[in-house]
């Protein structure tokens, strides 16, 4: 790194801030037990409001990740009413997860029925059309894993949806939907990028978390 590490000495960082950063990460990802022991170790004040919800959020996340979208939807409705109504994109993503489940379990008739009832109404809006067609295309293949749309049935896709759902639930409860840590890293990367662009060779190189952790 080109920036002189000694310069960091001038900047004070409050311990409490660090604790909060770590806490926000743990809470966001529903690490309940870790949260409890962290609070015990640091003597922090217990952020009571979102502890109980953490357990529920964790379950919702798990169901979504597995592909059990209907259960995830049910629990979400309980925890955060009207969330999905207000967040149609998310609702669509979850419903299509269920559709994918049906297709993968080769339950074609059910999948078709489900698509007609629940998914095709989204088709009235232009922005959902292409995604809808992507999902519908899965029906055409006896082995959807080998179809051009195979990425839609991947774990990666489910993870994206699950994380999106998690963030939405947090936002719904007026909590930050991104962890502080994530934001900090994002900010650093962006600032470094700007500096790099402005000063080209003279400026600091783009931020790399990996390199930073190694140094």
């Amino acid at each position: 790194m080109d920036v002189d590490p000694r310069q960091y000495e001038h900047i004070e960082v409050n311990d409490n801030d660090i604790h909060n950063i770590v806490m926000s990460y743990l809470v966001h990802n529903c690490f309940k037990e870790t949260v409890e022991s962290f609070i015990a170790c640091t003597g922090m004040k217990q952020p009571s409001d979102y502890l109980e919800d953490m357990e529920k959020r964790k379950r919702i996340f798990q169901f979504a990740l597995e592909g059990n979208a209907l259960k995830a939807i049910e629990l979400t409705e309980q925890l955060a009413t009207n969330l999905l109504e207000k967040n149609k994109d998310l609702h669509f993503d979850l419903l299509s997860l269920h559709f994918v489940e049906l297709v993968c379990s080769r339950k074609c008739t059910e999948a078709l029925e489900f698509a007609r009832m629940k998914l095709s109404p989204f088709g009235k809006e232009q922005k959902y059309v292409e995604k809808l067609e992507d999902f519908m295309a899965l029906l055409a293949y006896e082995e959807p894993e080998k179809s051009p749309m195979f990425h839609l049935i991947s774990l990666e896709h489910r993870r994206l949806v699950a994380e999106s759902l998690n963030r939405a639930i947090l936002a719904h409860a007026n909590h930050p939907s991104y962890t502080a840590m994530e934001r900090l890293i994002q900010q650093t990367t962006l600032v470094r990028q700007c500096l790099n662009q402005e000063h080209a060779k003279d400026g600091p190189p783009p931020f790399s978390l990996k390199d930073f952790l190694k140094s």
């Binding site: 074609c108 008739t109 078709l112 698509a115 007609r116 998914l119 095709s120 088709g123 232009q126 059309v129 292409e130 809808l132 067609e133 992507d134 519908m136 295309a137 899965l138 029906l139 055409a140 293949y141 006896e142 179809s147 051009p148």
Partner: protein, 580 residues
Amino acid sequence: MGGEEDDEPASKRMKLSSKELRHLSNGSTIKEPVAGSSGDLMARPLQSEGGEEVVGSKGVIKKVEFVRIIAKALYSLGYIKSGARLEEESGIPLHSSVVNIFMRQILEGNWDESVVTLHNIGLTDERTIKSASFLILEQKFFELLDEENVMDALKTLRTEIAPLCINNSRVRELSSFIVSPSHCFSVRSCKQDTLRARSRTKLLEELQKLLPPTVMIPERRLEHLVEQALVLQRDSCMFHNSLDKEMSLYADHQCGRDQIPSQTLQILQAHTDEVWFLQFSHNGKYLASSSNDKSAIIWEVDANGVSFKRKLSGHQKPISSVSWSPDDHELLTCGVEEVVRRWDVPSGECLHVYEKAGLGMVSCGWSPDGKWIFSGVNDKSICMWELDGKELECWKGPRTLKISDLEITNDGKQIISICRERAILLLDREAKVERFIEEDQTITSFSLSRDNRFLLVNLLNQEIHLWNIEGDVKLVSKYRGHKRTRFIIRSCFGGLEQAFIASGSEDSLVYIWHRGRGELIEALPGHSGAVSCVSWNPANPHMLASASDDRTIRIWGLKNLSAKRKDTHSNGIHYCNGAT
């Protein structure tokens, strides 16, 4: 399929030949309908190199193909019985039996069987087989959907269509159709609103296009071949100069010389000195001429011919050229190294004089919207003026010569003028790009084609060069024959679709060439002095005007028109029964 007629007994062949001969109108190859005569090509079919029978004097038409496309044409025309009879009599089936079965299966909707038959037709290209199968199964899919048999349609899609592994985007669209048959999600995948399964006949047509022509003869093949021949005939017709000449199948199309103006219809005598320049207006209703006598004359063209309208006087020097405004209401005249005058045609009034102190104009032209005029100046620059005389722009440097033509293209972007003895400048005034036509000889004049794609350049060495000026300039043709030694001689494009080139000459003849073929068609006598300029009426391909040092203008038209013409109003041409 090709070997079938080999099984025919010889006697049947002979019988066929005499019968067929009566029906064929192919007069050039069939001489006598006598079986066994040596001139009778049908009775004793020739063997081509491939061992197949051929017809026609050149031995390039395969009999089997010939009969098949005739049969196809008969069916297309609706003569089903005749078509069937031909197939029967000739023993040459239009389609092989496999193909016939295939076609029947398609029309009857036996999809699965038709796919099997498809594999037996004898196609070699895997891709074609798959594409054709796709089309057939797609039809099956849609017909199932129409019957609301969704599950079977889905099954077809999954087990038959998708495994073909072609056209994935279409497979995607078909999936969408299953989910929402009543309306499509996106407009682009919707072909028709309600009826999605198209007719089986249409499917057959699509398959026909897909399969090679040897398997299924394309529709209207015979008509296409005949049209090709007609177009070829028309293109090679050297004298083709009339719109109303219809083409007939009975004889090769050939216009006679009588379509080219070659007879003096009128001699116009009104100038008192050599006539240097003339030009028809864009609408062909007027002719403007300019002369060494310092005047320009406007002539009117009408039913009775060309008549004097008025003389424009005012120049103090001989007038080297004139230029019609795009709407033909005004005329520019340019005195030799003098001024440019703008005249109102109906009244003959001089509307404006364009001049530059201490300098003289050498050429003039209009912008295509009629708002500006351009002129070459004898200080080698080109100027652009507003109609009221305000100078807008001036391109300096060697842009023009002392005597120069000036043309502006129809898009208003290019200015063309002679800039050096042996070079023509094509200046794109917007893009500020200059292109040049370079010649080995001195250039004396040039003329721009109506479509602005070509430039006709007159050279000192008695050649006329045709250049293509689109993109990179390219020399296309050369025309020779006329005489030029001392004076400026001008040439022009003319005739129907500007298919001809006409030029003046110092030997007092008017020369006409066929543009495409470069051949000299006519050298017209009449004038008694060098012919310096010609102009072909843009509205009347049969009218040509020439200007000569003998102080006259001659109007040329078709020979023997009054005798030949039955209806004089057919193409608006009216002839003056003037004598030569």
